[in-house]
């Protein structure tokens, strides 16, 4: 059985829109989603009546005590499609872990299969009132009983422990991570739509950051925000007639979690999953790591960048912190491997992979303006490798 993606370069992104990223908004999330979707459709040179497929994932990613309501705190495709005046023949929602890659891949599959001709993919992120992740539980049943009574709860302690394991094992310093976070904030500061627009930080700012869960401070985490991103995808033959340079999907690969204690994420498990994604990614796409010149790796928590760089084979295991410290990801160097040239999540806000998708698209469609680099093959990754982690490879040269 060949691992090659049968629909390689047969589906393309043809338009996009990214809303302003705000901490909270007076505008209802559903309204922002409608406006952003209409902008994306217009950008693609299409009208809402032509969109016949809808894909999304509508998870509200918080461990806090918040309820979801469609149109208010989440936006599903079922909610959005009729409000755009579209008459879709295909609507689906992605339910698993790996929301943006999972829904994007499903959109690609739907087009490749002929289930739709033009698909709108969107992701809407909401920042609920009150503390984002705080949970006032006084008793813990089900899965939580094994961890919450000990004080282990939420993603941050889990990531902090995996990162500490990395630091202890490879002698990584907080100074190296300072350079990574400064790079993310530098590039986010250059995005007019970013929450952190015009607000870069320095290495000294990072080093002065108060630790929340050692060795991580607030600056190692993305900030909860409200924003929407939307993309229009179609088949390669239809893409040719549209105004923007198409960016083709060459293939993708995902990993799924090993069985483990809920949120007990070990470094070894993440690295195994990442290596597995890498192996299947190159089989799927026919590319190799050396071909990738527009990499955008997920950074919802800063150490993920190390784990992706190493597990996918862009750095020897244990070396990513030195690579970063030596300027290896500095987007101002045309020869660098600029995994955060779009600013990522740390530089823009908690957008669950949208910045990675956006920057791959902008670089490959030649629409990155003053941030434009020489780019022909892009790779976005999302999540922690083992936690529904996924990678999608794009190219602007389908020949």
């Amino acid at each position: 059985m060949s691992g090659q993606f049968r629909a390689r370069n047969q589906v393309a992104i043809v338009g996009y829109a990214q809303s302003q990223v705000v901490r909270r908004s007076d505008e209802l999330l559903g309204i922002t989603a409608i406006k952003t979707a209409l902008d994306a459709i217009k950008d693609a040179g299409l009208t809402p009546g032509q969109i016949d497929g809808f894909l999304s994932s509508s998870l509200l990613p918080t461990s806090g005590d918040h309820r979801s309501r469609d149109g208010y705190s989440v936006v599903s495709s079922d909610w959005l499609a009729p409000r755009l005046g579209a008459s879709p023949r295909y609507i689906a929602g992605f339910q698993g872990k790996g929301q943006i890659t999972g829904s994007f891949e499903a959109a690609t599959n739907a087009l490749a299969a002929g289930a739709a001709d033009y698909v709108l993919l969107h992701r809407a992120l909401y920042n609920p009132p009150g503390k984002y992740n705080n949970n006032p539980m006084t008793s813990a049943g089900g899965d939580a009983q094994w961890v919450a009574p000990q004080g282990f709860f939420g993603a941050l302690p889990a990531i902090s422990m995996a990162y500490n394991e990395y630091m202890q094992r490879y002698g990584a310093s907080r100074e190296a991570m300072a350079h990574l976070v400064v790079e993310a904030r530098k590039n986010g500061a250059r995005q007019p739509w970013s929450y952190w627009a015009g607000k870069p930080i320095t290495v000294a700012d990072y080093m002065a950051g108060e630790l929340i869960n050692d060795p991580m401070s607030k600056l190692d985490c993305d900030i909860p925000v409200q924003a929407v991103g939307a993309y229009v995808l179609t088949t390669a033959d239809r893409a040719k007639d549209l105004p923007n340079k198409p960016v083709y999907i060459s293939g993708y690969a995902n990993a799924y979690p090993e069985h483990s204690l809920s949120l007990h994420w070990t470094l070894d498990e993440m690295m195994r999953a990442g290596a597995d994604i890498g192996k299947r990614l190159w089989e799927s796409t026919g590319f190799s790591p050396a071909d990738i010149d527009a990499p955008q790796f997920y950074d919802g928590f800063s150490p993920f960048i190390y784990f992706w760089l190493e597990s996918l084979g862009f750095c020897p295991v244990g070396e990513a912190h030195r690579f970063v410290l030596d300027g290896g990801i500095n987007s101002d160097d045309p020869k660098s491997f600029a995994v955060l040239s779009g600013g990522g999540a740390i530089g823009n806000g908690r957008l669950h992979g949208l910045p990675q998708l956006l920057e791959c698209y902008l670089q490959l469609s030649g629409r990155a303006a003053e941030r434009q680099r020489k780019a022909s093959v892009g790779l976005m990754t999302y999540s922690a490798p083992h936690f529904g982690g996924g990678g999608v490879v794009f190219t602007n040269d389908p020949s």
């Binding site: 009983q145 004080g151 282990f152 302690p157 422990m161 995996a162 500490n164 394991e165 050692d214």
Partner: protein, 138 residues
Amino acid sequence: MSGRPLPIPDEQSQPFWTASAKHVLTLPRCSNCQKFSFPPDIVCPQCHTLEPAFEFQPVASGGKVRTWTVIRQSFLSGFETPFVLVDVELDAQAGLRMIGQLLDGPSAPLKVGDRVEVAFEDLAPGTSVPGFKLVKSS
């Protein structure tokens, strides 16, 4: 009462919490493959039997520190910060890891591989949760 979240035992977990109340660490063992997994699942993650009939067996209380974090801000209520969470590989089975509080406090020096032993915190009458204490090397 500490104000910390208290475990709600269910049909499967009751033996674990009953033993914990007596300061005995038990772990769920699959009756098919005899391997421990923690926490217990619906199926055995090791041999995939649909009827693992997990039995909670008392186990050796030693282990070694794989990693740790100092929690300076907790998302849960009732915890006095800072406190230390340690990720411990238990002697009971290679690769079997459990997370608990390090009861020696946040200023105890720690390194990967340090030996620890299970120790219990009494949170409420009849409710104790397992944590760990450093074993002083002699």
